[in-house]
Structure formats: C-alpha cells, structure tokens
C-alpha cells in the first residue's frame, strides 16, 4: 500500500488500512477512522470559537473537508494532526467571517505580548482534588479563564494542555517554532494561574460558599 511504503510515514497500520479502504470507496470506514478523534475535533473548534453551536458546525465542516481531501493526505504527520489542522483552519475562517468581541482579555495590555510575563501575586493555592470539576461553577470559571486568553495563547493551551499533544505536534499544527510554543505556553499558564489562583475567590475551598469577586 502506498501510504505504508513511505518510510517517514507517521501512520499506524490500522489507520493506514482505514484510509486506504475509504479511498477505495468504502466510505463507512471513515467514521471508524475519525471516531477516536471526535473529541479532539470538538475541543479544537470550541477553543477557537468559544461557543458550542459554532464549534459543532465547524466540526462538521472540518470532517467533511477531511473526507473529501483524504486521498491527498500524504502521512507526513499523524492523521490526528492533519485532522486538527483542518479543523483549526475551518474554525479560524469562521472566526474571521464572524468575529465577535464578547470576551475581554485577562491579558495585561501594559505588557508586551511576546515579552516576559511575571506572576502578579503569590497567593497560596494548595493542591485541590480534581473532583472539583464535577462542580459546574468550577468548570465555568476554568472555561471562562481559558476563553479570556488571547487567541495565540488559547490555541497553545488547547493543543498542549487540554489535548495533551506534544510541543512538536503543537508547533506543526500552528505553523510556529517549538520555542514559540514554549514561550506562549509559559505565559498562558502564568496568566491562567494569576486569573484563578489568588484565594480562588473562595471557590476552591469546599464548604465555603462561592463569592464572585472577579470580573468573569
């Protein structure tokens, strides 16, 4: 098979077989190929568009595009990387067409976006149980903090920290050097920590009522 004969192929054999079957007309195999990455597609789309309805629309468009372009996929990267790239492009196009400024940035305009960002305070944030994510308010606070990041930081957080892709994969998808991924990631994580950590507004300490003292 052509895809497997490429020594640089990053495909595993199951995916290569599924792609070959789809390209030979067995369209049903496409669903099996994409199924492990459905969440990846959705989270990628929502991280750019920040609302569920738009994310779903873009996810459907991205999957359609991947289906129609599958025969041009050359396995120079993983199939999942290629699929995420398509989703990103679709989501960015949608955003450009339909830009909404609903969110204010947590980023500080006083600090250069490519320069260093340093912590603003040092409130203690002891380790907390992940069960807190069962709490809607906690989830919402995290989502809002991520949504409040500028695009360039949110994209890196999405790929690296939400989807657990490597620095290299993140750099490939975004078309930026790995050093830029690391710099943006550092800033994004510090911004998120600053946004969420200081006392956590009492939110993170079980038994205390949530008191909203931050603007999001």
């Amino acid at each position: 098979m052509r895809l497997m004969s490429n020594p640089l192929s990053q495909l595993d054999s199951i995916e290569a077989d599924l792609i070959s079957r789809v390209c030979h007309g067995e369209h049903k195999a496409f669903e099996e190929l994409v199924r492990p990455y459905e969440r990846l597609v959705y989270v990628t789309a929502i991280s750019v568009l920040r609302n569920s309805a738009d994310a779903e629309e873009v996810a459907q468009e991205a999957v359609l595009k991947a289906f129609s372009k599958l025969s041009s996929f050359r396995a120079e990267c993983k199939f999942s990387t290629w699929l995420v790239q398509i989703t990103y492009n679709e989501a960015r196009m949608k955003l450009r067409k339909d830009r909404r400024h609903l969110y204010e940035s947590v980023d500080d305009p006083q600090q250069g976006k490519e320069g260093d960002y340093w912590p603003k305070d040092f409130a203690d944030w002891r380790l907390i149980p992940s069960e807190l994510l069962e709490n809607d308010q906690v989830r919402k606070a995290l989502q809002n903090a991520i949504n409040s990041l500028d695009d360039m930081y949110r994209e890196v957080v999405n790929l690296r920290d939400i989807q657990s892709l490597s620095i290299k994969e993140t750099a490939t998808i975004l078309g930026i050097p790995e050093t830029s991924v690391k710099t943006r990631l550092r800033r994004a994580r510090l911004l998120l920590r600053d946004a969420l950590a200081p006392g956590m507004d009492g939110l993170w300490h079980t038994g205390h009522p949530y008191q909203k003292v931050r603007p999001w």
């Binding site: 459905e38 996810a59 459907q60 380790l127 690391k182 550092r186 994580r189």
Partner: protein, 79 residues
C-alpha cells in the same frame, strides 16, 4: 555539592518547562533548591500544576449530547 542559586525571575522563566519536565537535571536541582526556600515561587508552581492538571481533565470540555452522530451528517457514508 553546592547548588548554584537561581533568582525568582529565572525560575518563572523556566517554570513551565519545569512542570513539563523539559529542563536539564542541573537546572531542575537548582529550581528544586529554590522552591524549598521561596514560598512565592512554590505558590506559583502549585498554581501552575493545578491549572495544567485541571484543564487536562476530560470533564472540562464535554461534547454536546448527540455530537458524534451529527458530526458525519454532511457526508454521504452509505456508498
């Protein structure tokens, strides 16, 4: 062996790579020594680890119900 001290600013510059275990052993030792004596940087480290741990959790962004079925709605997969 004595550990060469490292400043808070240097720690902040490297802290994200530290969380990712993407730094040299020598730098890791210097940072660990710093965290032991600097409450501010320890707080930043704990907070960053919490952020990274929480947002990596699959429950943060859940797919809408029925998303999987609708995802392929624009493609004719029956051929």
């Amino acid at each position: 062996m004595a550990t060469i001290e490292i400043s808070c600013v240097e720690v902040w510059r490297e802290i994200s790579d530290y969380v990712d275990a993407d730094i040299s052993a020598e730098l890791r030792l210097r940072m660990e020594a710093h965290f032991k004596v600097c409450a501010h940087c320890s707080a930043v480290l704990d907070g960053m680890r919490n952020v990274v741990g929480l947002i990596a959790d699959g429950r943060l962004f859940q797919m809408p119900e029925g998303f999987n079925k609708r995802l392929y709605s624009k493609i004719n997969l029956s051929e």
